[in-house]
């Protein structure tokens, strides 16, 4: 039995959880409940530090958005041809981040990879909050946010005619579907755990969990229906996630803009999404492990597997990145070739090279097992990978818009101003704030799935013995 309340107990865990095992099979089920419920009651002080820092960052974003709202998009230095600035680049980044939950939760669930069980819940939450953050940028980039309903594809009682052939209309529908489905998937998978919370809570919280737990009593009929429904939802989520990022890629790929009109954009976007999502999972894994004292559940072998998965996806992304360059270079399209040369040698060249270095070279750190098991190194590497992936989105938008067909539209000296940077920073605050709130209100580790993992592994080792 493991009870990690202080550093000495963590030391005990380090000594007694065999390195090769994803989780200690001898851990008592009651202890699993206790540890997870305690994480919701008494996190480390660092929780509040992160939460307040997120709140401060979010406030900066709100101030910048209010400033832009009152003064118009010109205050954010957005004008032709740089009409999207950092907003759409960051929108793609957050949409990409959302794919990690689907990967870890849905794909690995279908493949019966049970090592995902202690960490999939927060990855799913990450999906939901990333999508909510991405959705904000759709509003922010409009400038006139009160006209957001124009992006929604509903028939023409307004006497406006939505262009159903436009990927922008597809985008709004796909993101709406993905957000709704992700919330359903997150909530649905949490119902047995919400019943545990209900059974242990008092006062208002008891009523709150009672309502959300939907009468769960763990009956055989409930489990049977739950299993079928959860698997079905997972099967829906996978093609949905692929379709969402393919559609986002289509926003660019179906245009005639040199640098965007590339067939490999949809798989390139999907691979980039999985890549940044996996890197973010590593970051949050390390943070949650410390903040909520989840050392017994978020173990080093699980981190090791996540790192290896990230490396594999990094190599897929690198390959598709090279394909993109090769398409431009050998595609007999002089404009696309010039756009590529501009990225590599123009104003934004340092960021292009940084993106390639961070996205394709830095992941080789993950090859070394000793480094994979070193938490500070993994924290730095995962953050660097995500900086690289954010730069990738920046390189898709800004240099391309700066170097179109017409030389008189070239804006090689354009840089985002403080309003844009403030709103982007605010989005990170918004995401972190929601995520930390979620982990305080809902169990960040799936208790029933960890129990299943422990039970099945125990039975397997008993059978072997």
């Amino acid at each position: 039995m493991i009870h990690t309340t202080d550093e000495s107990d963590i030391e005990i865990e380090r000594r007694f959880v065999p390195k090769a095992k994803d989780i200690n099979e001898d851990i008592a089920w009651a202890q699993i409940n206790k540890d997870v419920l305690r994480s919701m009651e008494r996190p480390r002080l660092m929780y509040w530090v992160i939460f307040l820092a997120s709140l401060a960052l979010f406030s900066v974003g709100v101030y910048c958005e209010v400033y832009q709202y009152r003064n118009g998009l010109g205050a954010a230095d957005l004008e032709n041809p740089q009409v999207w600035g950092l907003y759409i680049a960051t929108f793609i980044f957050w949409i990409g981040m959302s794919h990690s939950g689907t990967l870890l939760s849905a794909i690995l669930h279908i493949m019966h990879a049970d090592w995902r069980k202690p960490i999939y819940r927060f990855a799913e939450a990450m999906t939901t909050f990333s999508l909510m953050t991405a959705g904000l940028f759709v509003l922010v980039h409009l400038g006139r946010v009160w006209q957001f309903y124009y992006v929604v594809a509903y028939p023409n009682e307004r006497w406006t005619w939505p262009n159903f052939n436009s990927p922008l209309v597809w985008d709004a529908t796909a993101i709406g579907t993905y957000l709704t489905s992700s919330i359903v998937f997150l909530y649905f998978g949490m119902i047995p755990d919400l019943a545990i919370c209900r059974d242990n809570a008092k006062g208002f919280r008891k009523k709150f969990y009672w309502f959300l737990s939907a009468g769960w009593q763990g009956t055989d009929r409930q489990w049977a229906n739950f299993r079928v429904a959860y698997m079905t939802l997972a099967c829906f989520l996978i093609p949905l996630a692929v379709s969402v990022h393919s559609i986002v890629a289509s926003d660019f790929a179906v245009s005639q803009q040199p640098g965007w009109h590339i067939t490999s954009f949809p798989p390139y976007f999907v691979a980039g999404a999985l890549y940044s999502g996996c890197a973010a999972i590593i970051t949050l894994f390390i943070i949650l492990r410390y903040v909520f004292r989840f050392e017994a559940y978020m173990t080093m072998p699980i981190l090791d597997k996540t790192c290896r998965l990230t490396f594999a996806i990094a190599m897929v992304w690198t390959y598709l990145n090279l394909i993109e360059y090769a398409s431009a270079w050998y595609g007999n399209d002089e404009y696309a070739k010039q756009a590529l040369i501009f990225r590599a040698t123009g104003t934004y060249a340092p960021y292009w090279w940084a993106m390639n270095f961070l996205g394709s070279i830095v992941p080789f750190v993950l090859v070394f097992k000793s480094l994979r098991n070193h938490l500070p190194t993994m924290m730095v590497v995962s953050l660097l990978l995500n900086v690289g992936m954010w730069l990738e989105r920046f390189m898709i938008i800004t240099p391309t818009l700066a170097h179109g067909y017409y030389p008189w539209t070239w804006t090689g000296d354009w840089w985002p101003n403080w309003v844009q940077i403030g709103i982007v920073a605010g989005s990170f605050g918004w995401f972190s704030m929601l995520f930390m709130l979620f982990c305080k209100i809902f169990p960040a580790v799936s208790m029933y799935e960890v129990k299943e993992m422990v039970y099945h592994r125990f039975m397997a080792s008993k059978a072997r013995a």
Binding site: N165, T173, D199, A214, D220, R221, V228, L240
Partner: protein, 175 residues
């Protein structure tokens, strides 16, 4: 005479299995195996199999939702396109199938997801049908066997439970 419930709590899986086996073999009057419900902290398909096949209809809701979503989605889009006042299409179709498939696909999934959840809630018979016999230790690590039977048979069922070291036996009117 109306049926009543009794719930026995067991410490582990093996004891619960033995209790169910004995219940099945007892052939008590006024008792059916369909009236036995297992309550457990994790899914035990092997334990549920002992109770016989219990159909799951969630997939039908999923299918209905997906078909409904796809057809409603396509109909809405196509009818909107067909109702545009001016059809300046330059020779292209008024209702172009390939781009409309994207939105149709999204609605196919959306309705499928929502109906799956709804189907599951209906299968759980929400908002009613929550047994009053429940113990919070079931959500920790104990296994409960809930039986619904004639009041006259309940003592015999409790006797069977008692032979398999239950932690507790609860009736509808207390322990």
């Amino acid at each position: 005479m109306g049926k009543v419930h009794t719930l026995a709590l067991f410490n582990n899986f093996e004891e619960a299995v033995r209790a169910i086996q004995e219940l099945k073999g007892a052939h008590l009057p006024g008792f059916r195996i369909d009236d036995v419900v297992i309550k457990s902290p994790i899914d035990h398909p092997e334990l549920s199999e002992m109770l016989g096949k219990r159909p799951v209809y969630v997939q039908l809701f999923t299918l209905a939702g997906a078909v409904l979503g796809g057809s409603v989605g396509f109909t809405l889009i196509a009818s909107a396109q067909a109702n545009f006042l001016l059809q300046i299409r330059g020779g292209r179709p008024v209702v172009p199938i390939p781009p409309d498939m994207v939105l149709t696909y999204e609605l196919f999934i959306l309705f499928g997801v929502l109906m799956t959840m709804l189907g599951c809630f209906i299968a759980w018979k929400l908002p009613g049908n929550r047994s009053t016999l429940y113990n919070t230790s079931i959500s920790v690590d104990k296994i409960g066997i809930l039986v619904r039977a004639d009041p006259l048979v309940i003592p015999k069922i409790n006797e069977i439970f008692a032979r398999h070291q239950p932690l507790q036996i609860m009736g509808e009117h207390g322990r």
